[in-house]
Amino acid sequence: MKRSNQSVTRLLVEMREGADHLYDELFSIVYDNLKTIANRQLNREYNNITLSKTSLVHEVYLKLMDQNDVDWQGRAHFYAIVSKCMRQILIDHARKKSANKRGGRKKAITYLDGLMKLEQSADRLINLDSALNRLKKLNPRLVRVVECRYFGEMTISDTAAALGISEKTVNRDWKKAKGWLHKELKNRFETNTDKKKSVSLQQS
């Protein structure tokens, strides 16, 4: 861990006061903590590696926060930041795993069933990300709601608190965002499969 919990709390306080540039610093801290938590979980229960994403965000929170110093709103705010980080981290990972990105010589890779559709998942997640970028131009608040609800798996009330909007608005935004993305991704997905794929030969 690069920073003490104390300084993380300070970062959060600063951020609430409008220091958006601190996101980058927080990002690396969240990432480091994800690693630690993952490893700890693994050692604890190797036989059942299913991780709950909610618990993951929560664990990062527990790990980072000095709860005494941060109020309820602060916690919600923190969740929102972690959600945003999660989006970034996942998309970065997806780009690494994407079939589109992997050009050139292709090695035969053995997949576990969980990973079998990995490339496909990665591509779909990247599609979601670029749809979110398009949505941001129409209504950035909808995107923040999606980050909290989807990537951070935050509750409606936490999301409302973190974003400073009413629960009703969160509800409505979440519905609209899902609807719009669903439409957008469905179209994208369908055009993808409609395209006849030519299979090229590659030397292995």
Partner: protein, 855 residues
């Protein structure tokens, strides 16, 4: 859509969402009445919203998948680090040597350190909490441990660690993946195939023990430093499959898996066969038959089917040039020869291995291996066994020695087919019968060739004689008499070609008798066989015997056919050739001259048959002492055959040989040696060293060499001739005796009298047992023995030998032939050269020649 529009849409949707579902669409229609674009957007959005889902039903949330993978990646290094140094079974984990979806592999060493033993320890990532799964694992690994084969990495032990992680302890194999090994060492196609065969053998062994690999790919097939193959992880893939093994497999290498593995159907040994096919394709063509990825998941089956229809050679041709070049270089081949080696057998083997349906593939790895072996031996592979021409080719390729004569048969057969096909337009019915007959002859011979496989021991060349003998035996089973006669004639020709003249004659006579019983007495069919028989006699120099058959064939042909018909011309020239020996060479030339125009015209019409007629025309010219014209024709013939790229043709052999003779006569000895040698090279190659043609050319070659005084070469040739002749004719044959006498004369020239004497005695005893008493050759040998005995001081023996052969020679009632006169002359020379006073003998022989000529 811009932000303003979107804002409006959102507003409408917000309002709509507050309403009961039933009213929503009416409201939208009302409010967006004049804005159809907005209305459309709103309605679409509403529809999606009412579904209430971010992703379509058919597509699960991709996030969890990615998250899990990411965390696994983060964990892996830590997990492995934590395991180093731990003890599993009797082994300590030393270092990580690999990790993949299935788990991690460590290098292990004995924990007690009692002795050095390295193993590979595989820790499988799999939930083993339920007892059923665990029992299955325990049972299976016990079965796998029994799998003992030099081509399969041995499984020693296995179990479940205290933490519940299943592990396997296996033979540690140091090696590199087979594809990389082949390329690194630039193995050629045959070497690759042999390596692949050992893979097949190992797979076959496992399959016969009912164990399927399920994940055969280059990474699992290593080649060790000693060049031996080891297959890793046999049967282990099943441990990472779902509990219901028959259902969807969890563990796959997309581009090495069989289609049924992708579609979740039953995995069988045929799935491994398919994966072997993918591997073979890669080793041979340097590329995969197709490339699947996780983007075109839904099209996999289609993509596979589409690509499997293509041949590997075609796939190779479609690669970019640079890649082709690299692949070919890795196999020490040019791009062109790369294409050539892929097409044919390999294409067809690959196609049978890479069948979409498991039931259509090779039934076993053993069968696949076997076909590759057959291909390497140039034997017909199973996939192409119904192609007759292909089987012929294969037969020729592996029996080069017999090839020439078999090619003659093939020509004969295809000649039939072509002839009969062209006839169809004219006499349809008859032609069909004939064509059917030609087919029957063909398939009879094909069966004959096939019988050479698989009964014969590999590496041993089947001889043409063996084949013919079998063929002859089988002719008695043929009830269709015309077919039988054609086959007899064909076999007779083959025997003649092989130098088995007597057998050939016997068979020809049978065919003639048969033909005369089925057709009218003077039928074309009979003439065909008579011509063959006449030619057979000519080959051994039995001119007188050949005469009646050639004459009758010629007469039948001229009665039935147009004067310029190839058969008329052919028989006329053959007849003229015989006549140039049995009658006046000039009259023979006259007969030949009357056909020379037909010969020229025929050749101009690209009928190569007529080239042979040219050859004999030159011979007839030479007999009539038109040496220069003959020389010109021979030289021209050699050139024509060269242009036809047919330099191994028998006519080329004859032309060279006869030119050798002409130059010898013209005393251009070096040139003579040159032409004889060339002729010898070809006959040696195409007929074999003990074939009568080869023996003749070799004998001829001794003449200019002797004239040039190249004694060492002469001795070598003479010494070779004896065993070769004996090989062909047997010890008790005048030809063998003749060659021994040649050595005797050479020894005499070298003043080795004792050796000469013993050689002549050998000849003498052979002649006496096979020739009529009083035969010229016996008398001649007696003359030489007289000389050797004189030189050795055995005058008594010499006297009696002298008297005996003089009586013999004087009792002759016919003229000496030219050859005999030549032989007497060389006898005189031997006396002249001998160390002693032999004036009396010399004069006697000389007067004998003078008398003999006049008699």
């Amino acid at each position: 859509m811009d932000r303003v529009e979107w804002k409006r849409i959102e507003e409408i949707v917000d309002q709509t969402l507050d309403m009961p579902k039933k009213q929503r669409r009416d409201y939208i229609s009302e409010i967006c009445n004049d804005k159809p674009a907005i209305k459309k957007e709103v309605l679409e959005l509403l529809e999606s919203i009412e579904k209430g889902k971010l992703f379509s039903d058919s597509q699960p949330d991709p996030k969890n998948n990615l998250m899990q993978n990411m965390l696994d990646g983060m964990n892996k290094s830590r997990l492995h680090e934590n395991l180093i140094g731990k003890t599993i079974g009797s082994y300590r984990l030393v270092k990580l040597i690999g990790s993949g979806g299935m788990g991690a592999v460590f290098l292990g060493e004995r924990a007690d350190g009692l002795f050095e033993h390295s193993v590979a320890i595989k820790i499988i990532r799999r939930d083993f909490t339920d007892s059923e799964t665990r029992n299955h694992f325990d049972n299976e690994r016990r079965i796998l441990a029994k799998l003992t084969h030099e081509g399969i990495a041995q499984l020693y032990d296995g179990g479940v660690t205290d933490e519940g992680r299943p592990y396997l302890i296996m033979e540690y194999v140091e090696g590199i993946p087979i594809d990389q090994y082949c390329n690194d060492n630039r193995l050629n196609i045959d070497q690759r195939l042999n390596l692949f065969r050992s893979v097949c053998q190992a797979v076959q062994y496992a399959h016969s023990n009912l164990i399927i690999h399920r994940d055969l790919k280059p990474e699992n097939i290593l080649v060790k430093k000693n060049g031996k193959v080891k297959i890793l992880d046999f049967g282990i893939a099943q441990f990472s499959e779902g509990q219901n093994a028959a259902s969807s497999p969890r563990f796959l290498s997309l581009n090495n898996a069989a289609p049924e593995q992708l579609t979740g159907d039953m995995v069988t040994t045929a799935s491994d066969i398919y994966s072997l096919g993918i591997l073979l394709h890669n080793l041979m063509a340097g590329c995969r038959p197709y490339n699947l990825n996780y983007q075109n998941m839904n099209d996999h089956v289609e993509v596979i089917k589409e690509n499997l229809a293509k041949k590997s050679s075609v796939r190779f041709q479609q690669l970019p040039h640079d890649q082709q070049k690299e692949i070919a270089e890795n196999r020490n081949l040019s791009i062109r020869s790369m294409e050539k080696s892929l097409s044919g057998d390999l294409d067809s083997i690959l196609q049978k291995t890479l069948q979409f349906l498991p039931g259509q593939r090779y039934a076993s790895a053993g069968e696949l291996q076997n076909d590759i072996h057959l291909h390497l031996l140039d034997l017909p592979v199973s996939t192409r066994s119904d192609d007759q021409y292909y089987r012929f080719l294969k037969f020729f390729k592996r029996n080069k020695k017999a090839t020439l004569f078999l090619a003659a048969i093939l020509l004969l057969i295809t000649g039939f087919s072509i002839f009969h096909t062209t006839q169809i337009g004219i006499e349809r019915n008859e032609a069909q019968v004939e064509a059917a007959r030609a087919d029957e002859v063909t398939s009879f011979l094909v069966d004959l060739f096939d019988s050479s496989h698989p009964t014969y021991a590999p590496g041993e060349e089947i001889t043409a004689e063996d084949l013919l003998e079998q063929g002859l035996e089988r002719t008695d089973q043929i009830s269709d008499l015309p077919v039988k006669s054609e086959i007899l004639a064909t076999i007779g020709q083959a025997y003649t070609q092989l130098g088995e003249h007597d057998t050939g004659r016997e068979i020809f006579h049978r065919a003639i008798d048969l033909n005369q019983s089925i057709y009218e007495r003077e039928s074309i069919e009979t003439a065909d066989v008579m011509l063959d028989l006449g030619i057979n006699y000519v080959t051994t120099g039995d001119w007188e015997l050949s005469l009646p058959y050639l004459k009758e064939a010629y007469e039948i042909y001229t009665d039935h056919l147009e004067p310029d018909h190839p058969n008329v011309v052919k028989s006329a020239i053959r007849l003229a050739k015989t006549l140039s020996h049995t009658a006046e060479p000039d009259s023979a030339l006259k007969l030949a001259d009357s056909y020379i125009e037909s010969i020229e015209d025929g050749y101009r019409e690209h009928d190569r048959e007529f080239l042979t007629d040219h050859l004999y025309y030159a011979y007839i010219l030479a007999r009539a002492e038109e040496i220069d014209r003959a020389e010109a024709i021979y030289l021209d013939l050699i050139e024509r055959y060269e242009q036809l790229n047919d330099t191994l043709n028998f006519s080329v052999v004859v032309s060279h040989n006869n030119l050798g003779g002409i130059y010898n006569e013209k005393e251009k000895y070096r040139k003579s040696v040159q032409y004889y040698s060339k002729s010898l090279d070809i006959t040696n190659y195409t007929y074999g060293p003990d074939h009568p043609y080869t023996l003749t050319v070799r004998r001829n070659l001794t003449n200019p060499i002797s004239e040039l005084g190249w004694h060492e070469d002469q001795l070598a040739l003479i010494q070779e001739l004896i065993p070769l002749t004996k090989n062909r004719y047997g010890w008790e044959h005048w030809r063998t005796g003749f060659e021994i006498a040649r050595y005797g004369r050479f020894s005499l020239q070298k003043n080795d009298y004792a050796k000469a004497d013993s050689l002549f005695q050998e000849t003498y005893s052979i002649y006496n047992s096979v020739l009529d008493p009083g035969h010229f050759l016996i008398a001649r040998t007696e003359a030489y023995l007289t000389l050797t005995n004189r030189l050795l001081g055995n005058h008594e023996t010499a006297d009696s030998l002298y008297n005996r052969h003089m009586a013999n020679l004087n009792e002759r009632d016919s003229n000496f032939s030219n050859a005999q006169i030549r032989r007497l002359q060389s006898l005189i020379d031997a006396y002249k050269e001998a160390n002693g006073d032999f004036e009396k003998e010399i004069q006697t022989y000389q007067s004998m020649i003078a008398e003999g000529e006049g008699r």
